[in-house]
Symmetry: C2
Subunit: 432 residues, 2 copies
């Protein structure tokens, strides 16, 4: 039997799990600081809820869709956290608006596994539902930027922005493309297949002259104000486009770190449901595609309910970001245990005292292991060393007789015997 997880899935060993928990905790703290609250939707959705929301490729190949053998119903593992949120909002008209929610949870995609791309991966979503204003889009960018800061990414990233109305104004109204979503999906592959690859695909779909025009348009990128000015000059009479330009201009004014923003006409986002501003965060290095993305989806909720509810949000790809950070040395999965103290009982007869010492240290909040294998002293010490436990607490007949414990920090090279009641302070110092 193959003992590995299914292809594209991973077991997360303690060192990586400890790192991931730490990083997800930091992201969650930032989300809360902005007043977002948790809403959790299930992993399993009815297939009809996901159908028609993500576009051809997702539907035909990427969604983990399945028939329940017992009931013959069609289900799917959630493909993202946004469509389930839209379903929830649609079915709860009583929720006060704006509704600000986050969810940090796995999603499943039947993708070809490769570097930074798994079939199960964590997304950290943050959304404002119920505001049509640039304020909401700006807050989403601010919370994402702060979260990346909290992860230690520093200034090593850019937030690419565009607006679906700018794309629509040019590609649908001015160039009159019949199937703009197909064009967007081709453009979306720019990072993966390069400029020539995109041009070739566009030529196949549109013919050479139209493809050239598209390639020219998507070359607009750089400073936000400059790009928006140029678009206003060249397409000022295009009302759809100008709505996008004006909206983005206001967003850019509200963003706390405008120097991180960059306009990119080739940013289109692969998903069908976006209607306004869209964004993607790319790291300076390594180049592994985007680590966060999102945008405004004012029409998604109305696919479920007969109400228009504007919404905007973004998502950090936690697992891809961790892979990238590990690669460039930003993160290290070097902590193998939460254990702070390994109690080593020097003699079998000290067992009961060793357990009592462990209990006392735990009551102070320390993470403590005791021997569970009736091992000799040497074996217990080897284990502490292997795990990288920062403090070893030796307990033997002498310590028991005097109600004390001998603490040893391998990294500080320090060893001291203290009365048990005084061990707390000594431990705090050794662990600092």
């Amino acid at each position: 039997m193959d003992l590995r997880p299914p292809r594209g899935f991973r077991d997360i060993p303690p060192d990586l799990a400890i790192l991931r928990k730490e990083l997800m905790g930091r992201v969650e703290a930032v989300y809360r600081r902005y007043g977002f609250d948790p809403l959790e939707t299930p992993a399993v959705e009815s297939w009809e809820v996901l159908a028609g929301k993500y576009g051809e490729e997702a539907e035909g190949r990427l969604i983990w869709r399945f028939k329940d053998p017992w009931s013959d119903r069609e289900y799917a593992l959630r493909y993202d956290l946004t469509v389930p949120l839209a379903r929830y909002i649609a079915s709860h008209p009583e929720i006060p608006m704006p509704f600000k929610r986050y969810q940090i949870a796995p999603v499943w995609r039947h993708d070809e596994p490769q570097r930074g791309r798994y079939r199960e991966f964590y997304q950290a979503d943050v959304d404002v539902v119920g505001s049509p204003y640039p304020e909401a889009d700006a807050e989403i960018i601010n919370v994402i930027v702060d979260a990346l800061d909290a992860l230690g990414v520093g200034s090593g990233f850019r937030v690419l922005i565009n607006d679906r109305r700018i794309l629509a104004g040019i590609f649908e109204e001015e160039l009159s493309l019949k199937d703009p979503l197909a064009v967007y999906r081709i453009i979306d592959k720019l990072d993966k297949v390069g400029e020539e690859g995109v041009r070739a695909e566009l030529e196949r779909l549109l013919g050479a002259p139209a493809a050239s025009k598209v390639m020219e348009v998507i070359s607009i990128k750089g400073d936000v104000a400059d790009s928006l000015d140029r678009l206003s000059r060249e397409h000022g009479s295009n009302a759809t486009l100008m709505k996008g330009v004006e909206h983005l201009r206001q967003v850019a004014q509200l963003v706390r770190r405008p120097q991180a923003l960059e306009f990119s006409m080739s940013l289109v986002r692969g998903l069908d449901y976006y209607t306004g501003p869209i964004l993607e965060v790319v790291l300076d290095r390594p180049r592994i595609g985007s680590v966060a993305g999102g945008g405004r989806y004012d029409n998604l909720i109305s696919l479920f309910a007969k109400r228009e509810v504007p919404a905007t949000g973004a998502s950090i790809g936690i697992d891809r970001l961790i892979d990238a950070g590990l690669e460039v040395g930003l993160f290290r999965a070097d902590r193998r245990t939460y254990t702070q103290v390994m109690v080593v009982n020097v003699r079998p007869e000290s067992y009961a005292y060793a357990w009592r010492v462990a209990d006392v240290l735990r009551s102070w909040g320390f993470s403590v292991r005791v021997d569970l294998n009736r091992s000799g002293q040497d074996e217990q010490r080897r284990r502490a060393l292997k795990l990288g436990v920062p403090v070893v607490a030796f307990v033997g007949p002498q310590e028991e007789a005097s109600g004390s414990v001998t603490l040893y920090s391998p990294s500080k090279g320090e060893r001291l015997t203290v009365r048990l009641e005084e061990a707390r302070q000594a431990l705090e110092r050794l662990l600092s």
Copy 2:
């Protein structure tokens, strides 16, 4: 379209999600305090990994088993966290033993939905792999008892214990039952179908005389020492049984709160893989079945690898425990938001200053919302009230001119205007 989650699944709204996160955090803190580390296995397993591990009912009806339409491979959603752990251990012979791990994550069971029983629910598992000794079983009981304490359950629960070797000694060796697992599964329903229900099912399977004997045996329950003494007296020559008796006796001596323990011969656990001590935690009220359970499974890992690796563990049923706690008033899902401060901008022109105030408060770690809907002052205040935000921070032209903020606590009935730099202390006081 039906906008509810699939049958048996739930959306967890913010108030419940906030409560669940709080409670899972407390359990996790206790698990870490005992030196357990996180290991995370995927939600999706190959079907063959789960097959043959849980018994007939699970396999024939309860496992969410499915064929991937793209590859025709057979997968399953994990049914518990133990079998995936066993697969992981089997495939990583290099792991230092004992390996102590926890995982708090959802599992999926295709059960008939009812009170406290969902098709997706969180389990909080804790396991010691690599120790055959009663010390490991006792530590599992201790960590579970401490976790229930941390949840505020107090002394309102009992830990029922038994040992599969005691069951085997009597039912397999003395009564020579042909299919003991089938008998265990019937006994396991005692809570659900009552004594007469179990007797009727046993009579169908075994005939009346054998059923009576089984009923008599499973009536042994109560004080651990008394029960083990009685078993020694009545079955002292049964070597299998006596191994269980001796093991349990040592476990009971190591448990920190022995008064919570109760021996119960009718405790059998429904899963096939247990081999030694087994346990279940039942609340005094409400009577909703067990909220935690587990046991020793020394042969499970050898189903995957040609090594014998002893292991023991237990699992808290987080969602069932929360339902029970909500029902008896132990928990309340009354916090609707993490937001501590709602910044209300009194005049549209104070918008920029309001955002600056929010940024400053956030930089101190407070959870802060600002208006994203260009709403009037009254509307912003109504929203703060509805959400139950504890402090409202008013910001208008006066505050902007003096670099201050007006803080108001509805619950304390207190209102004060302070300079922005001094707002931190004032806020801490109002929030305390």
